[in-house]
């Protein structure tokens, strides 16, 4: 396994700049997710790391070796594609074995390793079968087995679950961390599904329009997004952005939400002082989980009206309106509220972000 380093990688397709000066280091043994909406350049970056694509400028290093000019086979990488890559004329065993023909010294070793990979992916019963005899979900498991059976520098997964149905996706997703522990290599996993990335990755790199937005652990990215896009892209239901302005009263910071001034924590004061007086035209970001509803007035709450209620089973997604501000809140389904009712929203101040909508930077 290797440490993967991309250095100032830029890729231009005719007129489209798919990647713009991306630098990232992926430590060895890490489960790294490249996350981004479609067209963000995540697949391009993955293909450049794998060697299927050459960068317009910049370099790729495996450990300290520059591999930019090497082909995928010279880089010794293993890869799983979006669609199963099974050779139809061979049975499943031979498909997996073919991937390691160059690595093994004996039939015995080959058999052991294929068995190991097959048991890890729970496909032992299918080893003797052919392509046409098994369904799509199993085929994708075979593709994964074909990759992890290798002793590769890097294991790359290109949205391997995106063509599976929800149930299959969930069951395979939950196995991925176990697979990673057993294989013990550097995993690079491309996905557009933030839930998937949050669930399985050690670290996530978020791309947008060919630029790397933030690299961090799932927690860092969820709780401390660096910019508005990351805050917006991660988390479901989506974070609320509420237009706000800040002010200091008696040396205490306040944010104006709806019709009310909400007192903020002390830590916001320092951030506000560094803004040098530009306190207007800001946005307050808060996730629906971090807002709770009270039917009776409580201190430091925002009086608002229930606009509509969407039931998500065990919880309710409630849209609240206060003056010009509208925001969503996730609350327990047992809460007795009706549309049109007046309620009081309580913000969890630990998890409030202040965003400058012009630069899209998260100030705090």
């Amino acid at each position: 396994m290797a440490k993967v380093r991309a250095e100032r990688v830029t890729k231009v397709f005719k007129t489209l700049k798919a990647l713009d000066n991306v630098s990232v280091t992926i430590d060895h043994g890490l489960f790294f997710c490249l996350l981004g909406p479609s067209g963000s350049g995540k697949t391009t970056l993955m293909r450049i790391i794998s060697g299927l694509e050459t960068p317009t400028s910049g370099s790729i290093f495996f450990d300290d070796e520059d591999v930019t000019g090497l082909s995928p086979s010279e880089r010794n990488i293993a890869m799983v594609f979006q669609f199963p890559s099974i050779y139809p004329s061979l049975n499943i065993y031979d498909n997996i074995a073919l991937a390691i023909r160059r690595e093994v010294n004996s039939k015995q070793e080959e058999r052991e390793r294929v068995q190991w990979a097959a048991s890890l992916l729970r496909i032992e019963e299918h080893l003797k079968k052919r392509y046409h005899e098994i369904d799509f979900g199993i085929l994708q498991r075979v593709s994964i087995a074909k990759a992890i059976v290798r002793k590769a520098q890097v294991y790359i997964f290109d949205e391997p679950l995106s063509n599976l149905d929800t149930k299959l996706r969930e069951s395979l997703r939950s196995e991925f961390q176990h697979i990673h522990r057993e294989v013990g290599g550097t995993f690079i996993y491309v996905t557009h599904d933030q839930l998937e990335a949050m669930a399985i990755a050690d670290k996530i790199g978020i791309l947008r329009d060919g630029r790397l937005q933030q690299v961090g652990t799932p927690d860092e990215i969820y709780y401390h997004p660096l910019n508005k896009f990351v805050a917006y892209f991660i988390g479901s239901p989506t974070i609320n952005f509420i237009d706000t302005k800040l002010k200091l009263v008696e040396d205490k910071p306040y944010a104006f939400v709806g019709n009310t001034y909400l007192q903020l924590d002390e830590k916001f004061k320092r951030a506000l002082q560094s803004r040098m007086g530009k306190l207007e035209n800001l946005q307050l970001g808060i996730r629906p989980h971090d807002i709770s509803i009270s039917t009776t007035p409580v201190a430091d709450s925002i009086p608002c009206n229930v606009n509509y209620i969407e039931s998500l089973g065990t919880s309710l997604l409630v849209e609240l309106v206060s003056g010009p501000a509208a925001f969503k809140c996730l609350c327990d389904a047992t809460l007795n509220i009706k549309e049109g009712m007046q309620v009081y929203a309580v913000f969890d101040k630990e998890h409030i972000h202040i965003i400058d909508p012009e630069t899209e930077e998260v100030i705090i």
């Binding site: 794998s50 299927l52 082909s71 995928p72 086979s73 990488i77 293993a78 890869m79 594609f81 979006q82 669609f83 890559s85 050779y87 139809p88 004329s89 061979l90 073919l98 991937a99 160059r102 074909k146």
Partner: protein, 292 residues
């Protein structure tokens, strides 16, 4: 109460029959009826010129044809022509397809140019090859002379070469189109996957390329073999079956028997033998293609 759904369902049953009747009638009168008529005729001795009533001779026509050394020679000749033409067309088509599978400048134009022979009428192909092979001013004869150092009269000295060459010229692009379609159908990620699996070029061909193009290759071979067996117009206009009977393939022999010697009964018998051979070949191919 009971009659209404009855008539309704009867109309529903009859309606599709009414709809397909014209097509069936056309096939019956223009294809099946003449075929059966011809089958009957093949058991008679009949000369269309003399206008005498046909004389029933049973299987004598077949007996005579199958025991005739001449007919067997035509079979062998036709077989050779088909074998040479189709194999060379396959090899050339295969090569061309791999060439055109790569992207290069002017690829579309080159494909158009290479496939134009398919659009030329067979009679025209035959006639202009007669000029190209002409012993005194044909360009091919000139090239042959440059290569061998002596004057070669291709049409009289190597007539089989000439007709195979002409068929290859016209039909290689057909093979190419089929194989190219097969190559284009290979999923890109499979090729990339083979690169990542570190397969040798041979293994890549064996496990990815061949399984994808195989059905198309089988189909192209089937079409070409059946077609090459029936080839008439190009050979007839180029050599007329000559010199002597050196290029008289079965189809030309049937034509001659029917319209030069006017042994109509015998010609239909030969045509039926011919039909059976093509059906057999088709079956073998289809079975091979379906085996996988």
């Amino acid at each position: 109460m009971t009659s209404q759904p009855d008539t309704g369902s009867r109309i529903l049953k009859i309606f599709p029959i009414i709809l397909i009747f014209p097509a069936v009638a056309l096939v019956v009168f223009l294809v099946i009826f003449p075929l059966i008529w011809a089958l009957g005729l093949s058991f008679y001795s009949y000369n269309v010129l003399r206008g005498e009533p046909p004389i029933f001779v049973g299987v004598e026509n077949y007996y005579r044809l199958l025991n005739s050394l001449d007919v067997w020679r035509r079979f062998v000749l036709t077989g050779q022509f088909v074998f040479y033409s189709v194999s060379i067309e396959f090899l050339l088509g295969f090569g061309l397809a791999h060439l055109f599978y790569n992207q290069f400048r002017g690829r579309r134009l080159a494909i158009t140019l290479v496939t134009t022979p398919l659009l030329v009428a067979p009679v025209a192909v035959g006639i202009f090859h007669r000029y190209l092979f002409d012993a005194t001013f044909g360009i091919y004869s000139y090239i042959a002379q440059l290569l061998t150092g002596q004057s070669v009269r291709i049409l009289s000295q190597h007539p089989m070469f000439a007709i195979v060459f002409m068929d290859v010229w016209q039909w290689s692009p057909f093979m190419m189109l089929f194989i190219l379609a097969g190559l284009e159908a290979i999923p890109k990620h499979m090729l990339e996957s083979s690169e990542i699996d570190r397969l040798s070029p041979l293994a890549k061909f064996r496990y990815i390329v061949w399984p994808t193009i195989k059905p198309l290759v089988a189909l192209a071979l089937l079409f070409r073999t059946m077609d090459a067996f029936r080839t008439f117009d190009t050979i007839f206009t180029l050599t007329g079956g000559g010199p002597g009977t050196a290029t008289e393939v079965l189809s030309i022999q049937i034509y001659r028997t029917a319209f030069q010697f006017f042994r109509t009964g015998e010609a239909t018998a030969l045509a039926f033998i011919f039909l059976v051979i093509i059906l057999l070949l088709t079956n073998i191919y289809l079975r091979l293609a379906r085996r996988e």
